[in-house]
C-alpha cells in the first residue's frame, strides 16, 4: 500500500458549449449561461480518484483546489461527490483578473501550503481561457517535471510513474520521478457518476477558504497586479461568409463539388 497526496486543480467556467447562435441576428446568445466545472477537469478528478484506488491505501489523499469567487465552492462540492477527499477554495478579490502566470503563482502557493504533494493533476485546458499554460507554468515554478496531454497513467508508485502522452502524430511514453505534474485529455477515462454517499459527503463537507494572506502571497504577485499579460481590447468576431448553396440533381451537385476541388488544386 502506498500513501501519497494528490492535488487536482480545477476551475469553474461558463458553459460556453451551450452558447448558441441567434439564427435571426446571427449574434451569440450568452444569456442564461450556466457555470460548470471545466469539462477537462472532470477527467483530472476521476484520474486522481482512480490512482488512489489503485494504490490501495485509504490514507492516500486527493485534494481539489480552485481559484475563484465564492460561487466556485459549487464545483469543489461536485469534486467531493466524485470521490475527492477534501477541497480548498482559493478566494480573494485580489486574485481577480489573473493571467496564467498569476494563476500558477496562486495555485503553487496553495500546493506548497498543503505540503508534501506527490502529484498535481490538471485538465489539459479550460473552456474559457483555452490556453493550457497554467500546468507547465505551475510545474516550472515548483521545479517539478510536467507532462501534458496525458492519455494514460500506466504505472505509479511512491517515487515515480510511467505516463503516455498524445502528440500530433504519435504517443510517447515517459518515466518521471515524483513529485510531478500532468495534464490529462478526455481519452484518459470516463468519469463516474457521483454516488449518493458522495453527494451526502459533499453537502456537509467543510471547505476552507484561503486568501492571499493565508497563502503568504503579496497582493502584487496575484491577480491582475501579478500578471505579465493584460487584455486591452475585447471584440466579437464577425461570422462572415456568403454561403453559396449548390442546387440541382445529385449529379449536378457532385459535378459542381468536383469543380471546386479542381479549382483548389486538390484533385
Amino acid at each position: 500500500m502506498i500513501r501519497i497526496k494528490i492535488v487536482v486543480c480545477i476551475k469553474q467556467v461558463p458553459a460556453t458549449t451551450e452558447i448558441k447562435i441567434d439564427p435571426k441576428t446571427n449574434t451569440l446568445i450568452r444569456e442564461g449561461i450556466e457555470n460548470i466545472i471545466n469539462p477537462f477537469d472532470s477527467y483530472a478528478i476521476e484520474e486522481a480518484v482512480r490512482i488512489k484506488e489503485r494504490l490501495g491505501d485509504p490514507d492516500t489523499e486527493v485534494i481539489a483546489i480552485t481559484m475563484g469567487p465564492h460561487q466556485a465552492m459549487e464545483i469543489l462540492r461536485e469534486a467531493i461527490s466524485a470521490g475527492v477527499d477534501r477541497a480548498i477554495l482559493l478566494s480573494d478579490r485580489a486574485f481577480a483578473g489573473a493571467d496564467t502566470w498569476a494563476t500558477a503563482t496562486t495555485l503553487a502557493g496553495a500546493i506548497n501550503k498543503i505540503g508534501d504533494c506527490s502529484l498535481v493533476i490538471l485538465g489539459k485546458q479550460t473552456l474559457d481561457g483555452d490556453t493550457g499554460q497554467v500546468g507547465p507554468e505551475l510545474a516550472q515554478k515548483m521545479g517539478i517535471p510536467f507532462v501534458g496531454y496525458v492519455s494514460s497513467v500506466l504505472e505509479i508508485n511512491k517515487n515515480n510513474m510511467k505516463v503516455k502522452r498524445l502528440m500530433e502524430d504519435r504517443y510517447e511514453t515517459f518515466e518521471v520521478s515524483l513529485p510531478s505534474a500532468i495534464s490529462v485529455i478526455k481519452d484518459i477515462n470516463v468519469p463516474r457518476v457521483p454516488s449518493l454517499r458522495g453527494k451526502m459527503k459533499a453537502k456537509s463537507a467543510e471547505i476552507p477558504v484561503w486568501d492571499s494572506e493565508i497563502l503568504g502571497l503579496n497582493k502584487n504577485e496575484v491577480g491582475l497586479s501579478g500578471s505579465y499579460t493584460q487584455v486591452v481590447k475585447i471584440f466579437t468576431p464577425r461570422i462572415k461568409h456568403d454561403t453559396m448553396i449548390i442546387e440541382g440533381t445529385t449529379d449536378e451537385k457532385v459535378e459542381h463539388l468536383y469543380r471546386i476541388l479542381k479549382e483548389s488544386h486538390v484533385v
Binding site: 460556453t16 458549449t17 499554460q133 515517459f174 486591452v232 466579437t236
Partner: protein, 402 residues
C-alpha cells in the same frame, strides 16, 4: 485595478448583463453594479453603447527600461530532422513585425542533426540563426529544451519571441516563459505592432472562439506568443544567401547543464491511421449524420484521394465511431486546412471553434437549417450517403482518364 460604472451615463439598459459570461452584473435601481464574480474580461466595456463602463488601471505604464531588448526571434521546432512548418510561417510573420520595428529577425533551433532543415529559414527572411545542434537534444524533452531556449533568449534579449502552438510547443513554451518570468499569450491568430508604443498586440480567440481578445505584455520582456500551425502564411522571399554561414551562430552548450528528468520509454506511431489532422491541407470530417462507424471508411477514401485526412465531430467520437485524436473543435483539435469538408455535421459552436478559420468550408447536410451552413462557403443540402460515393467515383474517373 477596478471596474468603474459612470452612474451619470448608465441607463441600466442591461446590454452589459446580457454579454457577461460570469454572472457578475446586476442592475440595482436602474444602474449597473458589478459583483465579485467579475474577472475583468472587458466584454461589458465593449457591449456598452454609452461608454459607461471603464476598467481603470488597465495598462499601467511599464516602469521598467527595456532598451537592452531588441529584435524578433522565432523558435524553429524540429521533430527529429523534420522542421515544423509553423516555424517558417512564423518567420514570415516575424519578418513583417521586425520590419515594422526596424529590427533584426532571428530564429533559434534546438535539436540533433537539424542544420540542413533549419537553414531553409533563410528563404523566409531570416537575418540570423542561433543553432544548438547536439545529440543531447535527440528527443524533444520539455525540461532541457526549456533551459536551452531560455539561455539563448537571456543572452540575445529579443523583445518579441514567437513559437508554434504545437503539442510540444504548448507545454514547452510556458515553461520557458516561467523561467524567464515574462508573459505568454497562447494561440494568437493576429499579431501586430502598436505604432505609438512599439509593443506587440497579440490577438487570440477565447471562450471557444466566441470572443477575440487583444493582449499585451507589460512589465516584462520578451513579449512571448504562440501561434497555431497554418494560421500565418509562409512566404519564400529569397534564395538561401551564399554567405549564410556568417549568419549562423553556433551555440556551444555545457552538457552538464542539460540533465533531463524525463526518461523516454517508447514512441508509438499509429502508422495505420493518420492522426495528425492539423498537418493536412484537406480535412474531411464526419458527424452524427454519418450514422455509424462503417461510413467513416467512405470519408477516408475521399480524404485519401484529396491527399487529406479524416476529422470528426465530438458526437461521432463520443459515439465510438472514430478515435479521439480525430476530433475537431473546442475539446479536440483546431484545424486550419485549405479545404474543410463537413459531412453530416450540424455545426455546434464548439465544433465551429475548431475549424472556422479554414480557407474553404464545404458543408453537406440533410438539414437546410444546420448552423454549419452559416460558416460554409459552399453548402449542399442532401444525403451524403448518395453524394460522397458519387464524388469519389467522379474523382477516380477523372484520374483514370487523365
Amino acid at each position: 485595478m477596478e471596474i468603474k460604472i459612470n452612474r451619470e451615463t448608465c441607463t441600466g439598459c442591461g446590454l452589459c448583463k446580457k454579454v457577461c459570461l460570469y454572472n457578475a452584473i446586476e442592475i440595482v435601481n436602474s444602474k449597473v453594479v458589478i459583483n465579485e464574480n467579475c474577472v475583468f474580461c472587458g466584454a461589458c466595456v465593449e457591449a456598452c453603447k454609452f461608454n459607461s463602463i471603464e476598467i481603470a488601471g488597465l495598462l499601467s505604464e511599464d516602469k521598467k527600461d527595456f532598451s537592452d531588448y531588441g529584435g524578433v526571434c522565432v523558435y524553429l521546432e524540429a521533430n527529429g530532422s523534420v522542421i515544423s512548418d509553423v516555424g517558417f510561417e512564423l518567420i514570415s510573420k516575424g519578418r513583417e513585425l521586425a520590419d515594422r520595428l526596424g529590427a533584426e529577425l532571428s530564429a533559434v533551433a534546438v535539436g540533433n542533426s537539424i542544420k540542413d532543415g533549419v537553414v531553409e529559414g533563410f528563404r523566409y527572411g531570416l537575418d540570423k540563426l542561433y543553432l544548438i545542434d547536439n545529440p543531447v537534444f535527440s528527443n524533444n524533452l520539455d525540461d532541457i529544451f526549456a533551459i536551452a531556449l531560455a539561455q539563448v533568449i537571456k543572452r540575445y534579449k529579443p523583445e518579441i519571441f514567437l513559437a508554434g502552438a504545437t503539442a510540444f510547443g504548448r507545454t514547452l513554451i510556458p515553461a520557458v516563459a516561467a523561467i524567464l518570468k515574462t508573459g505568454l499569450t497562447a494561440d494568437c491568430t493576429g499579431l501586430d505592432i502598436d505604432n505609438e508604443r512599439k509593443i506587440l498586440l497579440q490577438t487570440r480567440p477565447t471562450f471557444g472562439g466566441n470572443i477575440l481578445a487583444t493582449i499585451v505584455t507589460r512589465n516584462a520582456r520578451p513579449q512571448m506568443a504562440t501561434v497555431r500551425p497554418h494560421v500565418m502564411e509562409k512566404k519564400i522571399i529569397s534564395e538561401i544567401p551564399a554567405d549564410y554561414e556568417n549568419k549562423i551562430e553556433y551555440i556551444k552548450i555545457n552538457d552538464s547543464d542539460f540533465k533531463t528528468k524525463y526518461k523516454l520509454v517508447s514512441v508509438d506511431r499509429e502508422l495505420d491511421e493518420k492522426i495528425n489532422i492539423t498537418d493536412y491541407d484537406v480535412v474531411v470530417s464526419g458527424g452524427r449524420g454519418l450514422g455509424g462507424s462503417d461510413k467513416f471508411s467512405m470519408l477516408k477514401e475521399l480524404a485519401d484521394l484529396l491527399g487529406g485526412v479524416v476529422g470528426a465531430s465530438r458526437a461521432a467520437v463520443d459515439s465510438g465511431w472514430i478515435s479521439y485524436p480525430h476530433q475537431v473543435g473546442q475539446t479536440g483539435k483546431t484545424v486550419n486546412p485549405r479545404i474543410y469538408i463537413a459531412c453530416g455535421i450540424s455545426g455546434a459552436i464548439q465544433h465551429l471553434a475548431g475549424m472556422q478559420t479554414s480557407d474553404i468550408i464545404i458543408a453537406i447536410n440533410k438539414d437546410p437549417d444546420a448552423p454549419i451552413f452559416k460558416v460554409a462557403n459552399y453548402g449542399i443540402v442532401g444525403d451524403l450517403i448518395e453524394i460522397i460515393p458519387e464524388l469519389i467515383k467522379r474523382i477516380k474517373g477523372a484520374k483514370s482518364t487523365a
